[in-house]
């Protein structure tokens, strides 16, 4: 196979396709990869995969992901990486790679394509189920890969079964309720420069499976002894694999320290690969099994009841010798070696199972926490379930007894530089729970999430008991495992929800026209609404002034298509609306419109709008733009869960109908040029009436509704005809100087007329009475919210009430949201704030404020304590060091007599 070239810390290395960078670095002679985060000690590779705590790198080429262990990065042409001291960096250039997500449903999901997972998959296939098999390695086989072995042919053949999908490089990162699994597939890094640009680098899989089989295998764990962190100290399985499978030739001799038979198997592999195994030091008093016999036969010296106590290093901090202790006599011997291979037992990968609350159980026989779980929805298999493959026979042993000095270099969490000394201090400080120890020492909180250190912590806590009875791992329990099983880039989880796809943009059929007309848009919920239409060179203020004048003096037009529209039908529609709205709708004559207000059961105003009675049993309700979905849900909730006896059906027609508001004294004349089949005169078509008509054969419904106080018509037309109608209006409107206006002008016009905007002039605490809308609250009927008006606080005197505030011409506009105080409350002689418990007492706040072209002055709507009884009072509005003044007045500023709307 062709060699791959890559750079690490500016050095050129050579690798083989499919192999991890760590193997290539070791083969290239790099033992000390980085320095530790806090203690600055040299560190090298110790593991085989995601459990690796030391060999953290940052990709410099390609995507520059911030932190990954070199043990999981596949070498690829063009790969460039640098070492990290446990702290990642975020490059500032834009991330160009593509990340996507997909959804997958399957009968059975098998996590892990080791022998156990493959065997389970075969069983599932035999039972006629469709199987999805995922594994985080580039090829299947699990530990067989580490042994350099091929798959047994039956399992190999199974991979091409038509009911099996196998996804490599795919890591299950979380198990969630109801067999929901999130997995991330790394699809392009291993292709290096050859990766196609349209290929998603990482695909997030959302998998829902009827059955989940977890066969995630196990990590080998280290032991706790002094100076157990030097480069040259590795997990035995990793050392043997790098030497025997990846051709790492840098170790001449090795010492193996073990507590189980895995150490013997790995010693043999080292031996067979030509490493001089100086001895196996086994904490147990005896050992038996094929691997033990084989080690003996190979002539490897075996020492029982012995373990490693300490190590020594050369000037670079790299291992050059070990101190062995006889566990019974406590005698020590020193041996020079350049590899210390440690087999501290297996730690099954219980992570996923515990994500949903399954507790691992301690097995003394396995010296491990297992998840041996079988239901018809979820089961575990292989090493995770305790199938360690026969003759391992581990001891429950985590390291020799260390003195205070030794404990300072006895690392538990290599990445966090947390030592046995730190752990003992925590216990000494009174901490009992392993969760406290974690938080005190930060063990298990680094990039590797304690994959090797978690179990050591438990082991250490068994020893360190602070005078209390010694505990067993079962008493201590594991740390809490949390998703994700391995770190996931933010970009992958954001997926395609970036930029314009990050949240839906809702547009009306007239949107393109608005864009071409140069509209400035405002986000209203997910809608894009024209805010104002500046002419070249115009400021927002200029544009709004011009738009207002057009609406008050000529004719102006607005796209009101975003209003929510609900078709309501049925014999009980009127009764139903009477219960929903504070005012009466059953008495509304056909063909007429009425403004309505609705409250939640707590008496607080929640939406408003105009509802038209189209027929005996037929109404069309409009809601606020933001309220459409909420209101429909509200209606359905009452119909379905409280009043199923009511014969009413509600249908959303928000996007079936587009609404164009034509406003201004000249609106009738302009509309008259468009609509020939109905009489638009005030007498024939009164205010708050609705009429069917046609325009060029297009059916429209026109309503005399005014949100500005001006003569106005709302034209409702099929969404698909809106643009035609709008263009036609513009063609005919030219002689009238027809002007388009946006939401800002709409706000000014409505505020001058004292009309509220729910959500702007309310903040979720107002009753209709607070809005000075007692007139809309029916005394004659029951409706939702009515009872709450009797609650003491809601009927109390002195509540904030909606009023107007008027300023003098030329005065500075009061900012919206500003608070109001009684006159000069904020000023004493020095101009400092008057103090009442360190605060200034306010008497209300400003909800809406605009400059009125019509009034020639700024004005506002405000919620003011007892405001309706304070007409004419001058109040202060402190703005920083400045204090503005205004006079409380009625909230209707223009045309109180409603003369203009006809």
């Amino acid at each position: 196979m062709s060699e791959i070239h890559f750079y690490f810390d500016d050095q050129l290395y050579k690798g083989q396709p499919g192999e991890p960078m760590a193997a290539a670095l070791l083969r290239g002679g790099l033992l000390s990869i980085t320095n530790s985060t806090y203690h600055g000690r040299p560190r090298g590779v110790i593991g085989l995969g995601v459990e690796e705590p030391n060999a953290l790198v940052q990709l410099v080429s390609g995507t520059k992901e911030s932190m990954r262990p070199a043990t999981v990065i596949e070498v690829a042409e063009g790969l460039t990486a640098r070492s990290l001291t446990g702290i990642g960096a975020l490059p500032e250039d834009a991330e160009e790679a593509r990340y996507d997500k997909t959804n997958r449903y399957v009968d059975t999901l098998v996590v892990g394509a080791g022998v156990a997972g493959l065997t389970a998959a075969a069983e599932e296939l035999r039972a006629g189920r469709e199987v999805l098999l995922i594994d985080d390695q580039p090829t299947p086989g699990g530990h067989l890969r580490h042994l350099g072995l091929e798959l047994p042919s039956a399992l190999g053949d199974m991979l091409s079964h038509k009911n099996l999908t196998y996804i490599s490089r795919c890591t299950a990162t979380g198990l969630y309720d109801q067999n929901y699994i999130v997995a991330i597939e790394r699809r392009s890094d291993h292709l290096g420069n050859a990766a196609p640009v349209n290929r998603a680098r990482i695909r997030v899989w959302h998998i829902r499976a009827e059955r989940v089989i977890l066969a995630s295998g196990a990590f080998q764990r280290p032991l706790i002894f002094a100076n157990n962190d030097r480069p040259g100290i590795m997990l035995s399985h990793a050392a043997a694999t790098y030497v025997a499978v990846h051709g790492v030739k840098i170790f001449k001799q090795a010492v193996v320290v073990t507590i189980d038979n895995q150490g013997y198997r790995d010693a043999l592999r080292l031996h067979n690969a030509g490493v001089n195994v100086l001895g196996i030091y086994d904490a147990r008093s005896t050992a038996s099994g094929a691997s033990v016999d084989a080690a003996k036969a190979a002539g490897i010296p075996i020492h029982f009841r012995a373990t490693v106590l300490d190590t020594s290093s050369n000037a670079e901090g790299i291992l050059n010798g070990v101190t062995i202790q006889d566990l019974d006599t406590k005698e020590i011997v020193q041996t020079a070696t350049d590899l210390l291979a440690v087999s501290g037992g297996w730690t099954p990968i219980v992570d996923l199972a515990t994500h949903i609350g399954i507790k691992p159980t301690w097995s003394g026989q396995h010296a491990a926490f297992l998840v041996n779980h079988t239901t018809d929805k979820l089961r575990t298999a292989g090493m995770l379930a305790g199938d360690f493959g026969g003759d391992d026979d581990p001891a429950v042993f985590f390291g020799p007894v260390l003195d205070a000095e030794q404990a300072r270099t006895a690392y538990i969490d290599l990445q966090r530089d947390s030592t046995l000394h730190d752990l003992r201090r925590g216990v000494g400080a009174g901490l009992h729970s392993i969760e406290h120890i974690k938080r005190y020492t930060t063990i298990g909180t680094a990039h590797d999430q304690g994959k090797t250190s978690g179990m050591l912590t438990i082991g250490a806590l068994c020893q360190v008991n602070n005078g209390e009875p010694a505990r067993s791992p079962a008493d201590i329990g594991t740390l809490t495992f949390r998703p994700p099983y391995v770190p996931i880039p933010f970009a992958a989880l954001a997926g395609r929800e970036r930029g314009e796809l990050s949240d839906p943009i809702r547009i009306t059929p007239l949107h393109q026209w608005h864009v071409e007309a140069g509209a400035v848009f405002e986000d209203v919920g997910q809608w894009k609404r024209p805010w104002y239409f500046p002419k070249p060179g115009e400021s927002m203020e200029d544009a709004v002034k011009r738009e207002c004048i057009a609406a008050r003096e000529g004719v102006a037009v607005m796209d009101a298509s975003t209003l929510g529209k609900i078709d309501i039908r049925g014999a009980d529609a009127g009764v139903f609306l009477d219960r929903i709205y504070t005012n009466m709708f059953s008495t509304l004559p056909e063909g007429q419109c009425r403004y309505g207000l609705m409250c939640k059961a707590d008496g607080i105003v929640f939406d408003d709008g105009v509802t038209t009675r189209l027929g005996k049993n037929h109404y069309l309700m409009t809601t606020t733009t933001g309220g459409a979905a909420r209101v429909l849900a509200w209606l359905e909730e009452w119909l379905q869960t409280e009043w199923p006896e009511l014969e009413v059906y509600c249908t959303s027609v928000t996007e079936h109908i587009s609404t164009i508001a034509l406003v201004g004294p000249k609106s009738r004349a302009l509309l008259g040029e468009l609509v020939k089949d109905i009489d638009l005169s005030a007498a024939a078509f009164p205010f708050m009436h609705s009429r069917e008509a046609t325009i060029d054969g297009i059916p429209v419904r026109i309503a005399r509704i005014s949100f500005s106080g001006e003569l106005a018509f709302e034209i409702n037309v099929n969404w698909g005809h809106a643009r035609y109608l709008w263009e036609k209006l513009w063609k005919l409107g030219r002689p009238y100087d027809l002007t388009a206006y946006g939401t800002e002008t709409m706000h000014v016009l409505r505020a001058e007329k004292g009309y509220v905007i729910i959500g702007q002039d309310t903040d979720g605490t107002q009753t209709p009475y607070d809005l000075n809308m007692g007139w809309i609250v029916s005394k004659k009927k029951e409706f939702i919210g009515k009872r709450s008006f009797q609650l003491p606080y809601l009927k109390a005197a002195g509540r904030q009430q909606l009023v107007g505030l008027i300023q003098q011409p030329g005065e500075e506009l009061i900012p919206e949201g500003a608070y109001i105080t009684v006159l000069n409350a904020t000023q004493d002689d020095q101009g400092a704030p008057a103090d009442r418990h360190g605060k200034t007492q306010h008497t209300g706040f400003v909800t809406s404020a605009y400059y009125s072209q019509t009034l020639g002055a700024p004005f506002a709507l405000a919620l003011v304590a007892d405001g309706l009884n304070r007409m004419g009072e001058v109040v202060s509005i402190p703005i920083g060091k400045k204090v503005l003044q205004a006079t409380i007045c009625d909230s209707v500023f223009i045309d109180k007599e409603n003369t203009k709307r006809d």
Binding site: G357, G477, E636, Q640, P644, K786
Partner: protein, 105 residues
Amino acid sequence: MLYIPCPHCGLRNENEFHYGAEAGVGYPDPNTLSDSEWAKYLHIRANPKGWLAERWVHFAGCGRWFNLWRNTVTHEIGPVYLPFTKQPKAPAPETHRDGKEGSIQ
């Protein structure tokens, strides 16, 4: 992402639904209640640790309201039932997961 059995559409992801808290809290006759009884209707909903009969609406699907039993510790879902039908009995506590949070160790 709960997998919720809509009685009409079948199993669907949780994000197609809205939650409606405790099931079976009917709208009382507002005029016969004291302020505190009315406040209870407005604000108090069962919040047990374990099985809870609760309401959901399949807003992004069929739009129907329905009720189900769900365990608030294990998130296991029990019987599903329609509004105005008899409430089934709460399922027995789940045994194979203790799901107990924050246990002392």
